[in-house]
Amino acid sequence: MSRSVELIDVEMTFGKARAVEKLSVAIEGGEFFSILGPSGCGKTTILRLIAGFMQPTGGRILIGGRDMVGIGADQRPTSMIFQSLALFPLMPVWENIAFGLEVRGVRKADRRKRAEELLELIALPGYGDRMVHELSGGQKQRVAIARALAVEPQVLLLDEPLSALDLKLRQHMRAELRSLQKRTGVTFIYITHDQSEALAMSDRVAVMSAGVLQQVAPPLELYSNPATPFVARFVGETNEFPGRVERVADGMAAIETAHGLFTGRSGANLKVGDQAIVYVRPEAISLAAGADANGLHAVAEQLEFEGATAMLHAKTDGGYRLSAALPHHRLAEAPTAGTNVRLSFAASQALVLAHA
């Protein structure tokens, strides 16, 4: 596959503030690529740099192999979907969709025809003459996508476009965005702070924190093998047991923690004597006491029913509050508050990373 967007040592500073630190990443053609991070981590800055609303203070941006230096936002083969959607309220739907064609001097009849085709694509046929304010949130969303696709961009840039929608609609739009991306084959670069969104839709996810790229990986890899403590904490829920590395062998590490000796898969560059943290996902902790597993004692504090699972909050002897996700079929044996519980997790389900 060809490289669609390539960032090489891209840096961005605003006065003294550093928004993006030397960042390099290559995004493949036709990929659904998400950039995930908390607000203020620099992800929107990256999107605006790719769109051409700003010029980077260092490094290069290539789109379709072409260096974008000095090329303005109106000349780039990118199209952006804004957080606020930024539909033009004074134009009917079809003119919104055909705006990019209008400014390119396409004749009115052709514009109208293309707008109708795109309305078919987004499953809103016959909506061309409506005004934007007559549409529902999800329909506006789709019109914004159609407007962005009308100019046949190589890359579609999406800036948290689903954040204004309610949960049900958001989940529906996720699936729709994903299928639209597959059908059109356009590279999607999707910005979000919502990890479930990023995990659900993307081919690959880049996690950012404070302007620094933490990890670029497919969703499953990101969830099961976070490269840094930040990723482990930010993507999904996790329990943390800090301690000291006792042994490293065969990709496994043993850590002496306040709760006992735990074994887990070893992250990169662990040495005996290092300070490290054992990360365990709530769903990896179970009530059963496995023989070869890591075990710990705790006092049950609270049980939160969440539907498919129930989250057990328990306090360990060391005073740490951990959470364990109990599957639905085991709810019958869920402990009541105040009782002692014995919990365990398999070594293969735990990850040990050096203390950041």
Partner: protein, 293 residues
């Protein structure tokens, strides 16, 4: 009216009602009706008033249109006011856009204050400043001749002087409505248009100006009416060839001693302004309530 009494009680409610009614009837309606009455009567000697000759006639109105000089000045006032309005808009729009969308907060505060301070001074004095600037031996001619832009001093007191003085005098009446309406535009819309490939001109034509329509209409209505009713700028900065219709009205009242004719001319100017407002609202497709905001 019921809610007025409910809110303020019968006592205070009545006072408010009487005040508003007195204002509207006594200060707005009555003078205009008196003007109308004046305009429809012939100009008579005191002894003849109330006599057989004192009856309603349209002679004052027909006089305006049968006198070629007055008719010419009237028509010129219309198009010259429209020119003032258009020039003010052209001068103001880039500044309004810059203030609303581009400038930083500090720059906005500075420029706004710099624009407002001159308006603390009376309009006559401000126009007098232009009178000095544009004088035949004034600074503008000195600078332009020393720079070699012009060979000999220019007589600015003419249509150009009047235009300059009026554009300057009414700039804020255009600037603030246009600025206000542009600042309510979501900047993402400008970026979206840019992102879809629109040039700067296309962005303004298709996105910014349609959005700012109500503000532009308000500014245009203000400047046109102020220009049409202006007296100081044409009196100070004009030449005999650039007389304004207001000067004719003034002359009928204070020099010609013909109040009836003056009242008729003033009413025609009023009707013109009202027609202009209605036409502007129709063209811009905004309603009066939007403009008043």
């Amino acid at each position: 009216m019921h809610s007025l009494f409910q809110r303020f009680g019968v006592g205070l409610g009545s006072v408010i009602l009487i005040c508003v009614a007195t204002w509207l009837l006594g200060m707005v309606l009555a003078p205009n009706l008196m003007m109308l009455d004046f305009s429809l009567r012939p100009n008579l000697m005191p002894a003849q008033i109330g006599g057989p000759d004192d009856r309603y006639t349209l002679v004052n109105f027909t006089a305006l249109f049968s006198d070629p000089v007055h008719r010419g000045i009237f028509l010129k006032t219309i198009w010259a006011s429209a020119l003032v309005m258009a020039t003010t808009f052209v001068v103001t729009y880039p500044m309004a856009y810059w203030l609303a969308k581009v400038a930083r907060r500090k720059a906005v505060a500075f420029v706004t204050v710099a624009l407002i301070i001159p308006f603390w001074i009376n309009e006559v004095l401000r126009t007098l400043a232009w009178y000095i600037l544009l004088a035949f031996n004034g600074p503008l001619n000195v600078v332009l001749t020393s720079l070699g832009v012009i060979d000999a001093p220019v007589r600015w007191f003419s249509d150009i002087g009047v235009l300059a003085g009026m554009v300057y005098a009414y700039i804020l009446f255009m600037l603030f409505p246009v600025y206000n309406s542009i600042s309510t535009l979501d900047s993402a819309q400008v970026e979206a248009a840019r992102n879809l490939g629109a040039s700067t001109l296309q962005i303004h034509r298709r996105i910014v100006i349609p959005h700012a329509k109500a503000g532009i209409a308000t500014g245009c209505v203000f400047t046109f009416m102020l220009a049409a009713g202006s007296y100081v700028a044409p009196a100070l900065l004009g030449a005999p060839g650039s007389r304004w219709f207001t000067e004719i009205i003034y002359n009928w009242f204070f020099e010609g001693g013909n109040w009836n004719r003056g009242a008729a001319y003033a009413l025609v100017l009023l009707a013109l302004c009202m027609a202009f407002v209605m036409a502007a609202l129709r063209i811009f497709r905004v309603n009066l309530a939007d403009v008043a905001k």
